[in-house]
Amino acid sequence: MSSKVIDRDATIHQDAPRLKGKGTPLRERVFHLSLWVSLAVAVVFLASLLAYVLSEGWSRLDPRLWMNFPDYIDPTQGGAQSAIMGTVWVIGFTAAYCLPTGILTAIYLEEYADPDKWWNRAIEINIQNLAAVPSIVYGILGLGIISRGLGFGQTVLTASLTLSLLVLPVVIISSREAIRAVPQSIRQASLALGATQWQTIWRQVLPAAVPGMATGSILALSRAIGEAAPLLLLGGLTFITFNPSGVQSQFTVLPIQIFNWISQSRAEFVSLASAAIVILLAILLAMNSVAIWLRNRYSRTW
C-alpha cells in the first residue's frame, strides 16, 4: 500500500509548481535588520548609562547612603536618607490623591458620560492636552495656586498635589483604556441579571480592569518619582537633615538631592550622586517590575 502512495506522490510532484526563488525577499530582511538596529541603539544607551552610573557610584553604595543625612562638610559621611524618605512620603501622598481621583474620573467618562454631549467631549480633549503639558508648567501652577494661593508652603502636601496634577491625565487615560477593554457583553450579562449600573461597575468592570489600571498607575507614579523640575520650582529644599514627619513637613526628594550634589565641585559629591541615582533607578525598576508582574498575573483572554 505504501508503494502505491509513493508512486502517486511522484507524479503529483512532477506537476507541482516550483517554489525555488531567492529565499526571503531582500526588502524583508533589510526591514528586519533595521528593527534590530533600532532596538540595539536603545538598549546600548541604557546599558552604558547604567554601567557608567554603577562604576561612578560603586564606592558609595553602602549603608552610609541610606543611614546618614546629607553632610556638606564631610561628603564621605553624607547620605541621602532624608531624600529617600522624602521621595517615599511624596509619592505615597501623590498615589493617595491621584489614584482615587483618576480612577473615578475614568469611570465617569467611560461608564456614565454621554459622548454626544459637548461638555464631555471638552473634558476629554482637555485631559488629553493636559497629558502633554511640560512638567515645569505644573510647577508654576503648584507654586502659584497650591503653595502660595492656598498657603500650603514648601511642604510634602504641596509637592504631592502638584505631582498628582502632573500624572493625573496619565492615570485617567490608562484607567479608561483598562475599563474600555472589559467587553460590553459582560456589562450586558450583569444588567440582564438585574444588577444596577453601580453593581455592574463595582462587581464586574472594576475587578476586570484592575490589572490594567494598576499597570498604568504604577508607570505614572514612576514618572512622578523621577520628576525634579516642578519640585525645584516649588522650592523643594536641597539640604535637609531630617525625615518628613507629616504632610506639613518640609522635604527633599532624590532627584533634587541628585541635582544638587552633581552641581558641587568636589569629586566625592559626584560619586555620592551616582550612588543616589542607582537607588532611584532601583526604586523605579522595582515599581516597573510590579507593573509587569501584575499585568502577567492577571492578564485575561475573553
Binding site: 467587553p183 450579562a189 450583569s190 440582564a192 438585574g194
Partner: protein, 282 residues
C-alpha cells in the same frame, strides 16, 4: 419585592397541562403598534403580538429585520443604547413596561436574557450562578440555590466537582447552558434568548434545545433564531419578521406573520413567509 413564582415550589402542575393548555394565566406580553427608533431611523415598525404564558415563541426572519431589537424591548435592554427610543404598547401582565414609574432593574429580574455569544463572567462556576441572587439581595442558602439551579439546567452532573474553577474553562455549549442557568437562578418568569445556539456545534445545540423544552414547563421563553429547523422543533408559536425597504432606501423591520408554529411551517398565509421558510430568500 415579591419574587416571581417559585420555580420549584409546591404548586407545580403536571407538565402535560402546560404544553396543551398554555394560556392558564392569560398573555404575558401584549405588544401593540410597537416601533423602535435608533436616532431618526425607525428600525422596527408597527409590531403587534401577544406572547402566551409558558410557551416558547420563536422569532425568525432574515438579518436586519429587527427581531433582536424587538426581543430587547421585552426587558428594556434597548435602554442601554442612548439613541434608542420605543414607541407603542409593550404590556407585561397588563402593566406598561415603559411606564414612568417602572424600575428597569425589576423588569430585568423578572425577564431574564441569554445572549448570542456565551458570556460567562470571568469567575468561578459557582460565582456565575450566585451573581444574580447576590446582587438582588438573596438571603437564603446560596449553596442550595446553586445546586438546585444547576440541576434544573441539567448541568449539575457535569460541573459539580469543579464549582470553584473558572467558568471560562468550560466548553462553549456548557458556557451557554451555564448562562441559561445563571438566568434562571434569579427565578424570572420569562427568559429571552437572542440566537442562543448560533455560536455552538450541533450537539451542543441539541442540548440547549432539550433544555429549552424542559424549561418551558416553568418559564415563558422567547427565542430569536436564524435556524428555522430550531424554530420548528422547539417553539409553540412563530413570528416571522422581514425588512421592508421604503422609497428612500431605508430598511424597516416588520412583523409579517405570527401564528402557531405548525401552521407557519405547513400552511403560512403570507407569500413572504412561505418564500422564506422554503429557502427562496433570506
Amino acid at each position: 419585592m415579591t419574587p416571581p413564582s417559585d420555580a420549584t415550589g409546591g404548586t407545580r402542575i403536571p407538565q402535560v397541562a402546560f404544553r396543551s393548555a398554555p394560556s392558564l394565566a392569560g398573555p404575558v406580553f401584549e405588544v401593540g403598534s410597537l416601533s423602535v427608533f435608533y436616532g431618526d431611523h425607525e428600525a422596527v415598525r408597527d409590531v403587534n403580538m401577544t406572547i402566551g404564558h409558558r410557551q416558547i415563541t420563536a422569532m425568525i426572519g432574515p438579518s436586519g429585520c429587527g427581531k433582536s431589537t424587538v426581543l430587547r424591548c421585552f426587558n428594556r435592554m434597548n435602554d442601554l443604547v442612548p439613541s434608542a427610543r420605543v414607541a407603542g404598547k409593550v404590556h407585561y401582565h397588563n402593566e406598561d413596561l415603559y411606564g414612568r414609574d417602572v424600575d428597569p432593574i425589576e423588569v430585568r429580574r423578572r425577564i431574564g436574557m441569554v445572549f448570542q455569544k456565551p458570556n460567562p463572567f470571568p469567575k468561578s462556576i459557582y460565582d456565575n450562578i450566585a451573581y444574580g441572587p447576590r446582587v438582588g439581595g438573596f438571603q437564603g442558602n446560596l449553596d442550595d440555590l446553586v445546586e438546585e439551579t444547576l440541576t434544573h439546567a441539567a448541568l449539575w452532573d457535569e460541573v459539580k466537582d469543579k464549582l470553584k474553577t473558572s467558568a471560562l474553562a468550560l466548553s462553549g455549549g456548557q458556557q451557554q447552558r451555564l448562562c441559561i442557568a445563571r438566568t434562571i437562578a434569579v427565578k424570572p418568569e420569562v427568559i429571552l434568548m437572542d440566537e442562543p445556539c448560533s455560536a455552538l456545534d450541533p450537539i451542543a445545540t441539541a442540548k440547549i434545545e432539550d433544555l429549552m423544552t424542559h424549561l418551558a414547563r416553568e418559564f415563558t421563553i422567547i427565542v430569536v433564531t436564524h435556524n428555522m429547523q430550531q424554530a420548528a422543533r422547539v417553539s409553540d408559536r412563530t413570528a416571522f419578521f422581514t425588512a421592508d425597504v421604503d422609497d428612500a432606501g431605508v430598511r424597516h423591520g416588520r412583523l409579517v406573520e405570527y401564528d402557531e408554529t405548525e401552521r407557519i411551517f405547513s400552511n403560512p398565509s403570507d407569500q413572504r413567509t412561505e418564500d422564506y421558510i422554503s429557502g427562496r430568500f433570506g
